[in-house]
Symmetry: C2
Subunit: 446 residues, 2 copies
């Protein structure tokens, strides 16, 4: 393989007017326009190889993430893929700890969302250059290479590089068998959130829950939070639709304080939820720990807004969560996701990635399959979120059949979008955002 | 007072090429260009009243914060000061929980830095309209008005509105006496960090430490972290310069992991540091708690990078810190600072605000004086950071004499900058950034 130079970084503001239908609405995000900052790394490859990555956003403010991505561009452009992959840890720290930009985080919020998009684009490029789906590239790397991609700063008191190496080495055998088993079963287990958005009517929720049941989903998630009485009514309807053997999860999207969460789950516990997700602020490690003690045996899940490995480390140390919901681009891309997957394995907490949004399903299928094949060795208590919208904009969309994510086969991280979609939904210049095209959408004034 | 409408929000990218002299250099920020996103709220006031606020940044990436401020503008422009002050809590939550923008935080990083600048500009405007320095406005507000400015979401399990009201009401008497006492003493105690920047030579450090001593400073802070042996050498020099009765603080600026911090303080403890500041990641509540237990009786301080009241709440709950270093614009402006000052009072942790940077000294003098007069009633164990640079750019700069912040007298939050400075240091168009004007400065490529 001859050196592959990254010759330019392009970033675009892509927004879908989902607030028109309230797809994705929850207690804290009542009217989202699902969006992303979309990164393309152009290279000098004779085959025209590009690395693609995105970070999911919610409409207004996507332009802020775009600006952050641009601020990182000088750290990426002009480097070769070989230089980067030869020192993945150094490359990652170079972004996450850039000595002026880190003031804006560090390693959190806008600046870290931007890091995630760029880092994922590099991994997409690497996987494409190796002609492998990302999860295969990860599974084929030597344990030492995985460890060398991780920045252990701030987590070494909980997981040392030597422990990480040991975890990976112990799972080295049996990878081929586990991949075969995944193929035999038709893929990785999925649950659906599509039925339970907060903005949907009760009729729509019931009919969607029934549809999901017939489509093969055994696990279903509903949004709760703003009004416990209304939540209980909707929970009763969904429980009736899926029956006592169906698994129901609840998601409060950070709406409650600690005491409110405990009080609400006393009411909602009678619908037998498998977990309560984001019961309070994602920053409140000690709050989650207290909620978990008080609402047991209902499990506590969080992660889509957990800003970095340092907070995840503490959630594990404090025994604050039962379910680790990594997000592929809230964390600083693949490198930091690897750290959290290994931390979760060490502490024995199952990883059930957050998905939905734009491209998150495409991303996380790779992470869950890597976790199964190369780290945890089991899908027990593990299931990946599935939301059935916006997949039509991807070149190689995630496919769920009979409640399972089928195994991705195309090279890369499955995150490349179709040129036509990028043009149409680019904000504010795309046709989808032309006057009259999106009456009622929450258009930013940026 | 007739209604005062905010007619426009202007935001500028202001950068000082401080990396030329390594002023401000520390273990993690080796070459900072002290900067800010500077907000001006224009009004329809016949007197030309404007509200000014800024958030401190470190050079590259200031343009990202500027973009974030612009995203919030529609929530501010067109409102009257009276509408805002009549529901300060609602106004603050409207910014911090804006339903699309919050995805980029929530309440952390770029989006929260932007919130801080805007919120502070509103308080500056309010104080100017009342013709009072900000700390006087705060001290004169009824306890109920202070409580009504605070968003208790996510902290109510640690501090209820009723408890906050009780704390404030208990300190209601004696305010005039405490203000008189502050006047009698010549202001609020300050310490200096100017001597101890990491990039300075040992000679320069010694001569600056001696100068600080003769200027009346009894407390002095040095930067540590990259190399414990070198830190020990510099600590010995400073200790010699200030004598055994001088108070020395150390600041690692997040350089260490938990175990490294404990090991380093075993070495550096022999120089009798009063506190170790930012020994590790600002996100690591449990890590700080362990470090504090292990390095006692050396005190543990943190706060300049503590992203919001939720992390501060946990630092108190976990007994992780001895010193609470609020930052006036890392937190979401005055409203959230009030929450943290009251949390600190409830948990009995002294507040010693972070300053330096651009405008932080100007800001925090007000916060410390409010804390003394209206909340804690004491300056025992409390001292405010002072860094003697960039003050010449402010209309009413903070003034430290004989180791004390003198009491601000001008109306407002002391954060208004001189028009000439704004023009000269605006990035990239100002004269200070013209080709050749700043050879060697770390110019962003944004």
């Amino acid at each position: 393989m001859s050196p592959l130079e990254i010759t330019s970084l392009d970033v675009r503001d892509i927004r879908f007017p989902t607030s028109l239908s309230l797809d994705g609405s929850d207690a804290m995000h009542t009217s989202p326009d699902y969006s992303c900052a979309y990164v393309t790394l152009e290279t000098d490859s004779p085959d025209g190889l590009t690395g693609c990555g995105l970070t999911f956003t919610n409409g207004r403010g996507t332009e802020v993430v775009v600006a952050a991505v641009r601020a990182f561009a000088p750290l990426v452009v002009g480097r070769t893929l070989e230089q980067i992959t030869a020192d993945m840890r150094g490359f990652w720290r170079g972004l996450a700890s850039e000595d002026q930009l880190r003031w804006l985080g560090p390693e959190k919020g806008v600046i870290h969302l931007a890091t995630g998009a760029i880092v994922n684009a590099v991994w997409d490029l690497w996987a494409k250059a190796e002609r492998k789906p990302l999860f295969r590239l990860l599974c084929d790397l030597e344990p030492r290479q995985i460890v060398d991609a991780i920045d252990f700063r701030y987590i070494e008191d909980a997981l040392s590089p030597a422990e990480a190496l040991e975890l990976l080495t112990a799972m080295r055998g049996g990878r081929a068998e586990r991949l075969a088993e995944l193929e035999r079963l038709g893929g990785y287990p999925a649950y659906t959130t599509s039925a339970g958005w907060l903005g949907y009517s009760e009729d729509k929720i019931v009919s969607l829950a029934r549809e999901a049941r017939s489509a093969g989903f055994t696990h279903m998630k509903m949004k709760v939070g703003q009004d416990v009485a209304a939540d209980a009514r909707r929970a009763a309807l969904i429980r009736e639709a899926i029956g006592p053997t169906g698994t129901l999860m609840m998601d409060a999207n950070q709406f409650w304080g600690v005491d409110e969460a405990i009080a609400a789950m006393e009411v909602l516990g009678r619908f037998d939820p498998w977990w309560i997700e984001e019961p309070t602020s994602p920053d409140d490690v000690l709050g989650h720990a207290r909620i978990r003690r008080e609402v047991a045996p209902i499990r506590v899940a969080t992660g889509e807004h957990v800003q970095n490995r340092v907070i995840f480390k503490q959630l594990f140390q404090a025994e604050a969560i039962d379910v680790c919901q990594i997000d592929a681009c809230r964390l600083g891309g693949v490198n930091e996701v690897l750290a959290v997957i290994l931390l979760a394995a060490k502490f024995g907490v199952p990883v059930c990635p957050h998905a939905g949004g734009v491209g998150l399903c495409e991303y996380v299928q790779h992470l869950a399959m890597f976790d199964y094949i190369a780290v945890s060795g089991t899908t027990e208590g593990r299931i990946v979120e599935w939301v059935d919208h916006l997949h039509e904009h991807f070149l190689h969309p995630a496919v769920v059949i009979e409640g399972r994510y089928t195994i991705p086969t195309a090279a890369g991280y499955s995150i490349e979008m179709l040129p036509g979609s990028l043009d149409r939904y680019e904000f504010p210049s795309g046709a989808a955002w032309a006057t009259g095209a999106q009456d009622g959408a929450q258009i930013t004034s940026a």
